[in-house]
Symmetry: C2
Subunit: 342 residues, 2 copies
Amino acid sequence: MSEGMSYADAGVDLDAAERTKEGLRELVASTRDRFTLSELGQFGGLYQVPDDVDQPVLVSSADGVGTKLKLAFATGRHDTVGQCLVNHCTNDILVQGARPLFFLDYLATGEMDEQVVQDVVRGVAIACRENACALLGGETAQMPDFYAADEYDLAGFIVGAVARDRIIDGSAIRAGDALVGLASSGLHTNGYTLARKIVFEAMGLGVDDELPGTGRSVGAELLAIHRSYLGVLRAPLEARVVHGLAHVTGGGIPGNLPRVLPKDLGASVDRAAWEVPAVYRTLQEAGGVALGEMDRVFNMGLGMIVVCDAVDVGTVMASAESGGVEAWTIGSIVAGQGVSYL
Amino acid sequence: MSEGMSYADAGVDLDAAERTKEGLRELVASTRDRFTLSELGQFGGLYQVPDDVDQPVLVSSADGVGTKLKLAFATGRHDTVGQCLVNHCTNDILVQGARPLFFLDYLATGEMDEQVVQDVVRGVAIACRENACALLGGETAQMPDFYAADEYDLAGFIVGAVARDRIIDGSAIRAGDALVGLASSGLHTNGYTLARKIVFEAMGLGVDDELPGTGRSVGAELLAIHRSYLGVLRAPLEARVVHGLAHVTGGGIPGNLPRVLPKDLGASVDRAAWEVPAVYRTLQEAGGVALGEMDRVFNMGLGMIVVCDAVDVGTVMASAESGGVEAWTIGSIVAGQGVSYL
């Protein structure tokens, strides 16, 4: 029998947890809006249902960063993955027409490194401010002998709102509608288990080596922040020209676009319509990955697909371009099911 | 350079993920209520703001199960940890007077074991039904070389609602108010890193061995489901006799009760007022843990503390007892700060 065991001996430091929480107070406060009724440290975060949404419907999504986190560990750069997470969640609810209200994060670590926690949450707070979303709460868990001392997992949860008569559910989609693809900023948060295997194992590169064809280091290219499409889609949504939206995440275009289409409609996509960025060509070649597999695992340069009437393509393209996001007409809605490539 | 790499080779099986999601459809559907507007598989879950709450304020919380999960791994029993998680989150928002609306889970695994995922989510769904909470969505992430093949982490997010004039914020608490302690069902979800170290290392026990003094196996005692206090507190909340509530989680009574007290008030707690269950006495003795440390790490047999006027103690006790939850008057509110023990 041992004598005098304590929580700290066992690897959980409640004092460090308290200090860390205090250090986050200002970051959290920087995201408050007029509907935020609580402060950090209460059991639950309080948020008033906004009075500027008619017949509000809440739209909610949970997501993680996945093994993109391994790039943060390898580079020591921890302030971008939180941005990826918030932007990913924002896009997931934007698909149904919702704007973000609030966000909560779950950060589980092996050891409470106060600087790393600060960096991660700073990234979360930056993206919360950019997406006009309150960081309402979260959980930072110390789990020694579960996570390595210098590793962590990061998940998040968003709640947004949309007026009932403005929900985008794909029911307005018709054969002949156009597909507008919006450029991704990189891999976003999908396919990292395969990408890491190709880059680090098959190619034998390190994070500081140049990723061939990209003109950027492996670290910079693979940590590129998941883009939020809230800013460039707000105007087309308000103008009611959007018939459907697909966030291109795990499963790629073939796995995500059919999720928002009516049962009897499919999509015809013209591969020649946009240029697949260098990172995908490099991964495909170095890994000898079949094209169909590339399509299912990666976004291939398109992070969001907009379905709209052909006459409204100009409105969508103009909004994207005014926000600095490249856009291409990549195909159209056709009778049938699933995605077929030209 | 290797040839023909695929996501499945790298350890991520999209087909298994799809099958697993299909297997969850019925579990998720079993939690639907009249405000749930979406089905599994949409990018975001849709939930109508309930029309039966006056001036609704949303209350939200994020939490994890922590290293209690190690007990699930060791026993192969995966259907209770989800119940712990939902009940924990329910209690966190109940503290502010809210009832649950919906819940989302985040489950990250090393390898997609369809049966384990089913078991975990079944637990989540059971507790969602018990707490009248819709399981609105979630994320199941495959993260090989991040989690061991047979391990997973589980976190959850809850959103509830409370009428604006029924928010419990502790402002009604006065010196002389009574403290009613409601029995926990065991360790709930706190202190497991220390408890496991004592039981498995210092005591050298296995999960099937009896935990001395408890009459139960280590596995049964340490996997006991975190109790939800929603059922037994609904009546006292509706009767408006509750001045404050503290969910006794990490930090114990001294770490949680002061969180809900006005700045100039403290709590006097009489240790003799309730019997500390055998599991805590065994842990304290076997680990040689200081009493103050026990108080900070464990709930010591009380999972929720109710602050109410002394004349309303009977109402709270009667509601607890009618729900099969033992309750004791454990002390009172006094001038000062923090928790002092008699």
